[in-house]
Symmetry: C2
Subunit: 152 residues, 2 copies
């Protein structure tokens, strides 16, 4: 029997997280797994910000999934605090097992526990399965997501 836990990511988990970020049609072009220093520095920034919750799904000691939850206070919607989910990834061998659902469900419950009244995320329009996946979990695809790349 296997045991799955969703737990805070440690610095030792960074290579496994980065490998999952890169093993993805979009991530492959965006990540550089050899740039260990950049990812370690980024981990330290995340770890130093109490509003960031970077977690991994750990099955019997192996990292098989990840996501990051960010908590953002704000004035709109009667002073609602919202959470943002980013970087949801499931290891190749674990896809189709319901682990993605488990991760996002965890994030929603954690958001509630942290006092958020709204959870939001964006998904690249080319990820055609994502819409069905998030709608099944109760999310509404009400918004258009814009991005602007800076410098480089």
């Amino acid at each position: 029997m296997t045991r799955l836990v969703i737990r805070p990511a440690t610095r030792d988990d960074v290579p496994a997280i980065v490998a999952m970020l890169a093993d993805d049609p979009l991530g492959a072009a965006r990540e550089d797994v050899t740039d260990v220093q950049a990812y370690d520095a980024a981990y330290d920034r995340v770890d130093g910000d109490p509003a960031q919750h970077l977690v991994v799904a750990d099955r019997d000691g192996t990292v098989v999934g990840t996501l990051q939850l960010s908590v953002i206070p704000g004035l709109s919607r009667r002073g609602a605090t919202r959470s943002v989910i980013e970087g949801v990834r499931v290891a190749r061998g674990e896809r189709g097992t319901g682990l993605g659902t488990e991760l996002v469900t965890w994030a929603v419950e954690e958001s509630r526990r942290l006092g958020c009244s709204l959870v939001q995320l964006t998904s690249d329009a080319s990820r055609t399965d994502a819409r069905r996946f998030y709608e099944r979990l109760g999310f509404v695809a009400s918004h258009v997501g814009f991005k602007l790349q800076l410098g480089d």
Copy 2:
């Protein structure tokens, strides 16, 4: 001659910000300007989080615009720190003057200064002018934005 400055919001600006949030086709249904306590408490949460930059556009001492910029460190995209723009509002009498452009341009420059390599935002799909507005500023409408409202 009028003088416009974009400056950090103070607690005294909260009523003017809330009035702008409510004076909007979507905001009208979501805000309750009489709930002063909720908005003041929200302001204190925003003010207490160094990753939040709530600003107002101030024209000769009158608040005529607002937005909130949030800085989110992360591992993806080679450890990119991203910023998120929320709650962009321009006072009714100032619409069509280019103030929205000025606010968002400020947010992009501030994001750069804060070390972000990506700026993102979502806009309700019913805001039909928003797409053209953000695309003119260089944003790409590449994503679908999902939201999940939590309890009450």
